[in-house]
Subunit: 207 residues, 2 copies
């Protein structure tokens, strides 16, 4: 094991740069959405978590009932929605441990809603509250994640496109109900069984 | 001149990726700061624009009078400060023209204040108001700009450091009063004399 401190390592050789998506990787968007949707619209049909399919919740609800789209949107654009997201199990200790590893830089890479008014500052507040103020400088907000440099992007969105056709990062799909049908992809299924450490160690050898 | 449309060009070969800083490159932070500071604290000493030196306004005011730091901060963290920033002369038509050029992708790359509460959504609102809603997807918010990919970063901050010691971009210093003392750097002095086009054409040849 290396005896070099994080600081000397940083200057000595290239660090592994890991980009962590926020929603549904660190923060439980989907679980909180169902709770809030049922509170707000108790008489409407809803999609059980294990029936979720496709990245956009709104699209699936609209297939169920075309009038549900606006209600779905009303839930997640409401003030406080992002701030109140619970943590994905094990995500916060894993992110802290990863950021403390020798030769690893961690950033949080999150795409804003089109309705950006509440979500931008609430994403920052969430990170400050759950990870601490020193993590604020590690936040990257970008709709187009292909322009962000890094070796790994851990993200639940199965297809990530943008202006750069060959992004620097390798995408690891973080498993969620909505993406479990997507085959043939390198995955991280959870933050609790320790497999994330193997992925990091494997990539450290490759750079 | 190329007859290819922007769209076919995008898929045909690599585009030049230009990152434009927001404050003091597109939006006149320094000029608006003086106006607001003098309105709010008419009896205090202030630094004339052509006497500005060093990146942080607060540092220079504190040298003038150690009690001015908090007043400086109060000006730019106030709700509405970012939203009301005037345009840097010629910046908006230049940004639009650049984004419409064949083989050029333009992003706005801005660092948030530590006091992020108002500035995040106001930066988005500013871009929506001055450039249009289609530009919202081109915004990248990052404290550490060294992690952002791109061929050129046009930024008034003379020294840009971060976790990546060799950023992908070449930094072009956008001239401001506070950085005019910095020597030996490739510069863009303004958006009005057309020299920005020469820089873009020159870099397009190099990629």
């Amino acid at each position: 094991m290396s005896r070099r401190t994080k600081q000397t390592y940083d200057y000595g050789q290239k660090n592994l740069c890991v980009l962590l998506d926020l929603d549904q990787v660190l923060a439980d968007f989907e679980g909180h959405f169902i709770t809030k949707f049922r509170e707000k619209f108790p008489d409407d049909r809803f999609v059980q978590l294990d029936e979720r399919k496709g990245f956009y919740i709104k699209d699936q609800y609209e297939k169920l009932d075309r009038n549900l789209g606006d209600k779905v949107r009303a839930v997640y654009i409401e003030k406080g929605f992002f701030l109140d997201l619970p943590e994905i199990k094990g995500a916060i200790p894993a992110a802290r441990e990863m950021a403390a590893m020798d030769g690893v830089d961690v950033f949080i890479c999150s795409s804003p809603l089109t309705e950006y008014q509440n979500c931008l500052s609430e994403k920052f507040e969430w990170v400050e509250k759950h990870l601490g103020p020193e993590w604020l400088d590690r936040i990257i907000i970008a709709k187009d994640k292909t322009v962000i440099n890094g070796h790994i992007l851990i993200d639940d969105r199965p297809y990530i496109n943008g202006s750069c056709k060959s992004p620097a990062w390798k995408h690891i799909v973080f498993t969620a109900h909505h993406n479990r049908h997507v085959e043939g992809r390198q995955r991280l299924d959870n933050w609790t069984d320790g497999t994330w450490r193997d992925i990091i160690e494997d990539f450290k050898k490759r750079i």
